[in-house]
């Protein structure tokens, strides 16, 4: 493994050198200050640490930094100014999909990843796409509804 890797983070090329077996989660939070990514379990089960890695919804707690060389990563901070985020944000607020908020940035990442691949998902497809993101407050239905609302809003290219 080379001493330095490069990857695109929130649209900008960045480099990282050092311990390549650190978790992507720790590097993004501690080195890059991206605190919108949360650690809920450290085992890849809860999705609070979700990031978009080459457009896929991936838990950053079980991804090693060494493995992202040449990849494109987006965190919640990097999508905040997009029109897709604006639609999702409105939809989550309207649907009452937010309670304690700890899972929410990860849910937004999972939703965006789904809608980019499938702009008109069925309920079952949404359930599948969110199956790696846990929410203990909402019971999930209101999050599923938020994604349905976002998909139905139109006027935005996913």
């Amino acid at each position: 493994m080379s001493d330095e890797i490069r990857f695109k983070l929130n649209g900008e090329t960045v480099s990282y050198s050092g311990n390549m077996v650190r978790r992507l989660l720790d590097v993004l939070r501690d080195d890059f200050g991206l605190l919108g990514i949360k650690e809920g379990c450290g085992e890849g089960e809860c999705g609070a640490c979700s990031v978009l890695l080459n457009s896929r919804n991936v838990p950053s707690c079980i991804t090693l930094i060494g493995a992202v060389d040449g990849s494109e990563i987006y965190t919640i901070e990097g999508i905040r100014n997009t029109e897709q985020f604006a639609v999702l944000s409105e939809s989550f607020a309207e649907a009452g999909a937010v309670q304690c908020g700890f899972c929410t940035p990860g849910m937004i990442i999972a939703s965006l990843s789904l809608l980019e691949q499938n702009p008109s998902p069925t309920r079952e497809q949404i359930q599948d796409a969110l199956s790696g993101n846990l929410c203990r407050c909402s019971g999930m239905n209101m999050i599923i509804e938020a994604i349905q609302i976002a998909a139905n809003k139109g006027g935005v290219k996913w």
């Binding site: 607020a93 304690c100 908020g101 993101n133 999050i143």
Partner: protein, 711 residues
Amino acid sequence: MNEKISESIVRVDAHTKIGGQTKYVGDMKFDGMLYAKTVRSLHPRAKILSIDIPDIPDGYFIVDKNDVPGKNRVKILIYDQPFFAEGAVNYIGEPILLVVGPDRDIISQIISQIDIEYEPLPAVLTIEDALLENSPRIYGQDNCFVSHEYIKGEPDDAFANADKIIDGEYRTGYQEQLYIEPQGVIGIYENHRMTIYGSMQCPYYAHRAIAEGLGWSEDKVRVIQTTTGGAFGGKEEYPSLLSGQVAFASLKTKKPVKLVFDRDEDIQTTTKRHPSVIHHRTALDSNGTIIAADIDIKFDAGAYAGLSDVVLQRGMFCASGVYNIPNLRVRGRAVATNTVPNGAFRGFGAPQAFFAMDMQIEKIARIIGINSLDFRLKHALKKGDRTCTDGLLRHDVKIPEMMSRIEELSDIRDKIKKFKSQTGRIRKGIGLSMFYHGCGFTGNGEEIIHGTATLRKYPDSKVEILTSNVEMGQGALTAMRKIVAKSLEIPIEDVIYENPDTSRVPDSGPTVASRTTVIVGGLLKSAADELKQRWNEPGEIEVSKTYHHPKYIEWNQETMHGDAYPTYSWGINVVEVEVDTLTYEITPKKVWAIFDVGVPIDERMMRGQIEGGIVQGLGYGSIEVMENIGGKIQQGTITDYTIPTAKDVPEIVSEMLDNPYEYGPFGAKCSGELTLIGAAPALAAAVENALEIEINKIPVRPEELLEKMEL
């Protein structure tokens, strides 16, 4: 704000949470901050013979019992578990010491080199073991932290005259809160003062516990709640232990110290819902009417008392469910075992009690051959009836209306018949549960706390809410603002409500017992009404209100007689399931739910409570399996302890029915815990219907269903 209070608005905290801008305790950093990790007991019960600490690098510290300047006991109801073990441990995972320093990897290396020598002692690991005459005594004379009994009417006479007596024994398992944000606190010692930031429900609980542990006066301690990523009771009493630990660590190191749990550590060592064994004995007359019940409740408290006394009391005050039983004996015991201490969890003793009562009702109806829906309605409480503790139900009980509506929505009456005697691989079933939740603290709790809430109007006409109640996802920041804004007829944007800081807010009591809206919201409503009268006074205006029960409340804590709660919220749930008779997997297909919470402060936030509570209840009844074998939690990771995911949730149809409470703000009663109670018993009743068997234990596990079916 001219519309009805219940009309939904977008939560005030929605957008910052969606954007990931909200800071939780794990996101906070302070100059020179150190990290802490806990070294824990590996034995359920043992003496600590020696602790061998390796040479540790500069800048790293061991913090243990010798670093507790005050009392090394966490003040909860009594002086309880030690902050750090004192020569003995009583459960696997009990904290012994902290390793503190700047680098978490080096902390882990130090921990791996610490050698603790134990002398194992005979341990008590189950309720049954604890109550054996020859078992080791681990608490008092009888291994019970508390034993209570109350009697209503003349149960002995009624049993003597009974036509039929029916027994049933019911068991419930652990449930882990599994808030997605793990436990976390930061302690900062500066200028002879201690400040704690933490994810918690009860800043003043932590405040008192820290002051006692430090041996300081309370005015030198400050607790600031950080936005809390879910709690469900799990951050009621538990953060007091952690707050003390980081306070001692910061006092020793003179640096900020952060302690955030790993998920596994959180699952294995924090408080959970009490497992229970509940025995019902029900007496019927010749008309098939219940004339008496004898109910014995045993909760596994774990190794320390914690809140078990009051959890048990709430369970006892729900023992006979929503049914009017004139003669009653209820006994309750919180049993000591060498297992992780159990504590507060949404429902607080009620889910166990309602499960047992509902299953017993189904059993009786089956035995005497009557439709269980009619049997329930025949015995349902109504206004003017006496509660289990002989209190008077002064407010309307709308069970008949709720029942007819849920029958209409779910078609349960016909489906129960239709689902009998199925033969295919996949079998459908439908079941119902009826339940209540007493609003606010149990018994005389509110009269002990006397919560105070304050409103402060600034010269720019902004109004600040000052209470110690926290946002933990349930929507307090929005609900309380709505109450104040609507009362004052001002825009909600003009109402300020920050996360509580004990140096700024009065003690309005903890954020527990579904009391925030009904009790503290009620105080804010009356403060706002007064402020409105005084609105044009010059300068800053401050109005404080302190809670007193409505005058009608009569309660005797000694005999447990009278009004255990000032009022009640009510619910009926119906769950329809499919059971696969090859795998015995249970799939909830649809849920219908009706609630009377007085008047909801926000319909959409209330729906959030309903959806979340029901799904947590479905998990409690089915997939959330946690066992303790040999004192060790067997499902100690989030991979092994499964909670419902997006793929597991059924459609939930819910409605609310207005039934205003005159002492609640805008008629609101309690709502947060109520919503969890009914799903598990309704699911269990649905499995009974699908398979024509008797369920007496939750979670209902496929392997146990298979065994029952093969009998």
